[in-house]
């Protein structure tokens, strides 16, 4: 089982921190404006709570993630609360993307998105890969998909 690059955990935690901070600030401003309470303190509490909760979640999310290129399929495992395990046969792969968001680029990461015609196909995004690994994965999957196509069509 291949795991994600640990740096993606930092990206996720960073995102959670920013989210918690924004929410904390909103709470602080609103409380200061409308309630006779210490907005700053309440905002800080909200921030601390969210930071801890989401941060813990991201650690577990990272641990739950895994994928494997098997003989004839991609196997994915993910989910903290709902554990999801997916088998995607190569034959069914429609196309494969690599993606890099601005944050990904800062951290030197990339994602691979595997599309099938299934109704949940676009779910299969593998985040937190090194760019070389992502490109390699895309090429491998493309090759295997073309090879698999000799056996049948995608729909």
């Amino acid at each position: 089982m291949e795991t994600l690059n640990p740096r993606i955990r930092s990206v996720w935690i960073l995102k959670s921190t920013v989210f918690a901070a924004i929410l904390g600030i909103i709470v602080a401003v609103l409380v200061d404006a409308f309630l006779p309470l210490q907005g700053g303190v309440l905002g800080g509490v909200v921030f601390a709570f969210l930071f801890l909760a989401l941060g813990t979640y991201q650690v577990f999310r990272y641990r739950a993630w895994g994928f494997e290129i098997r003989e004839d399929c991609v196997y994915l495992e993910r989910g903290v609360f709902t554990r999801v395990k997916t088998l995607m046969p190569f034959v069914r792969i429609q196309h494969v993307d690599t993606r890099r968001s601005p944050l990904d680029r800062v951290f030197g990461l990339a994602s691979v998105v595997v599309y099938t015609a299934g109704s949940r196909g676009a779910d299969a995004m593998i985040p937190g890969l090194l760019p070389d690994r992502a490109t390699g994965l895309r090429e491998t999957l493309k090759g295997l998909a073309v090879e698999g196509r000799a056996k049948g069509d995608a729909v």
Binding site: R83, S119, G121, K142, A145, K151, D153, V155
Partner: protein, 520 residues
């Protein structure tokens, strides 16, 4: 043949007046009241309306002159557009459904609307408004023939006009279907009209309490009756003359009393067969059959209903039809483990507890008014039903792994039994929620490329043993691989192998840099 199909075909000339009048009516219906509203003179309005008609007519003439379509194997080609031109080529091999629709007026004029569907896409890939009906039929037949010839060159006999009838809706089935239909649109209409009508009602004429209540009750009954009659009527004219027949590799569905629908579905594109029933249908021994293909987009499926469905038929007839479509074995399902039943019982009991708790909180906080006659512990006896509800829910869950198909079932009020051939499965997915993990249970989904999946449930075996789910997931995958390499399926998919698909793969993946793909 009089209605030959080939290159350089045009729409029917009647399309010009029909299309212009159609839009003229719609625009005038909105425009004339608006004209009066902003205080235009009557003559000005008449002049504008006439001008509009002339303009629309001119536009439609231009549209007609520009619109050319060719059936030029291996593609169907359309050139259209007055201002911005468009040329579209649809590979015949990719066409899934060929639908012909005619409403009453169009039937009178001998016109038909033809739509071609391929997998994916938001709207119909080709929409021909309008062509002569015999021409539409010839087009449907010819496309089917060319497709099959492309897949098995030299083996396909000339297309026949009439196919083998697989299923016809019997009068008694149509009657039951009509009686079971209820059109909620009347209720919607009344709800919409009420604010406008209410001030005009002579309320003071309505006598007080007992008589007044009676009148309200009668009106309510009349409304329900009207909805029922409308529902029955709409169902009757929709499904009158329902017939499903087989033409070579295609299924053909015809139905309708006033508007006729005539659609074709390639059998080898069927993704899922769904048997749907409810407690009443089960008691009476009836069921509904839905045939899912990847042709329609979810939006279309929602707005137009599932076109490819047997609305209602006796269970044995449905099963016989399923048997002719696919070689399924008699359905015997594996039951979910008993602890799943315990879990449902607890879940339903907890739901009742939550309701009681919520009422208690409301009572403590605000006090529930005496007038409602509700005390916070009133729903508590519902908990007695929890074991029964849990049992019923569990009883109607099940799955089966047959030689060529995976079958899943769930639901009590609306029970769905889904039959999916292994070679149609896209992904095999297991999910375990945090609550399921406590019981060592999991859901298993066999995902297909069906178009209805956004609305309908995909084929899922719910709350089966977690270990079993893992095994079944692997088994499904193995059987999918085995099915794809079996000679029979190879033959079935022969038309799509190698040539096209490999070419497409190269096209889509050889773009420089690889980062060129945009989000779908």
């Amino acid at each position: 043949m009089r209605f030959s199909v080939g290159v350089g075909m045009k729409l029917h000339p009647f399309s010009i007046p029909y299309r212009s009048l159609e839009r003229w009516f719609v625009l005038s219906a909105g425009g004339v009241p608006l004209g009066f509203f902003i205080g235009l003179h009557g003559f000005a309005i008449v002049a504008l309306v006439v001008l509009l008609l002339v303009a629309l007519f001119a536009w439609e003439v231009a549209y007609y002159r520009r619109f050319v379509y060719d059936l030029a194997p291996p593609v169907f080609k359309i050139k259209s557009g007055v201002i911005s031109r468009r040329e579209r080529e649809i590979p015949l091999r990719r066409i899934q459904n060929v639908d012909i629709n005619r409403n009453l007026v169009q039937r009178f004029l001998g016109l038909a609307v033809v739509r071609l569907e391929t997998a994916g896409g938001e709207i119909s890939e080709a929409h021909l408004r309008f062509v002569a009906f015999p021409h539409a039929k010839a087009l449907q037949r010819e496309i089917r023939h060319l497709k099959q010839e492309g897949e098995h060159p030299g083996e396909v006999p000339q297309p026949q006009r009439s196919g083998e009838v697989l299923f016809e809706l019997e009068p008694i089935e149509l009657l039951v279907l009509c009686l079971a239909s209820f059109d909620a649109r009347i209720l919607g209409l009344i709800a919409f009209a009420l604010p406008f009508v209410a001030p005009g009602v002579p309320w003071e004429w309505i006598p007080p309490a007992p008589m007044g209540a009676l009148i309200v009750a009668i009106v309510a009954v009349l409304i329900v009756l009207a909805s029922w009659v409308t529902g029955a009527f709409v169902t009757y004219i929709t499904y009158h003359g329902f017939r499903l027949s087989r033409h070579g590799e295609d299924l053909q569905i015809e139905r309708g009393l006033l508007s006729r629908y005539d659609g074709s579905v390639p059998i080898d594109k069927i993704q899922t067969l769904t048997l749907q029933d409810n407690p009443l249908k089960r008691v009476l021994g009836y069921a509904t059959l839905k045939i899912e293909t990847a042709g329609y987009s979810p939006q279309q499926a929602a707005s137009e209903g599932v076109q490819s469905a047997v609305p209602l038929a006796r269970l044995d007839r449905v099963m016989r039809l399923v048997g002719t479509l696919d070689d399924i074995e008699p359905i015997t399902l594996e039951q979910a483990p008993r602890r799943a039943r315990t879990r449902y019982m607890i879940r339903y009991a907890l739901a009742v507890l939550a309701l009681v708790g919520a009422l208690l909180v409301v009572d403590l906080a605000y006090g529930i008014p005496e007038a409602t006659g509700v005390t916070w512990y009133h729903p508590a006896p519902l908990a007695l039903l929890a074991p029964l509800a849990g049992h019923v829910r569990w009883k109607h869950l099940g799955y089966a792994m047959q030689e060529n198909h995976v079958i899943t079932r769930s639901g009590y009020w609306s029970r769905h039994t889904k039959i999916v051939p292994y070679y149609r499965i896209q992904n095999a997915i297991t999910t375990e929620t945090i609550l399921q993990r406590r019981w060592d249970l999991a859901n298993l989904t066999a995902d297909t490329a069906g178009s209805l999946s956004l609305h309908a449930r995909s084929a899922s075996a719910l709350d089966i043993d977690a270990q079993t789910a893992q095994t079944v997931r692997e088994t499904i995958h193995d059987r999918l691989q085995a099915a794809l390499s079996s000679e029979e399926v190879k033959d079935l998919l022969a038309g799509e192998i190698g040539r096209s698909v490999l070419d497409e793969m190269d096209e889509t993946t050889s773009s420089p840099g690889g980062d060129a793909h945009t989000d779908p």
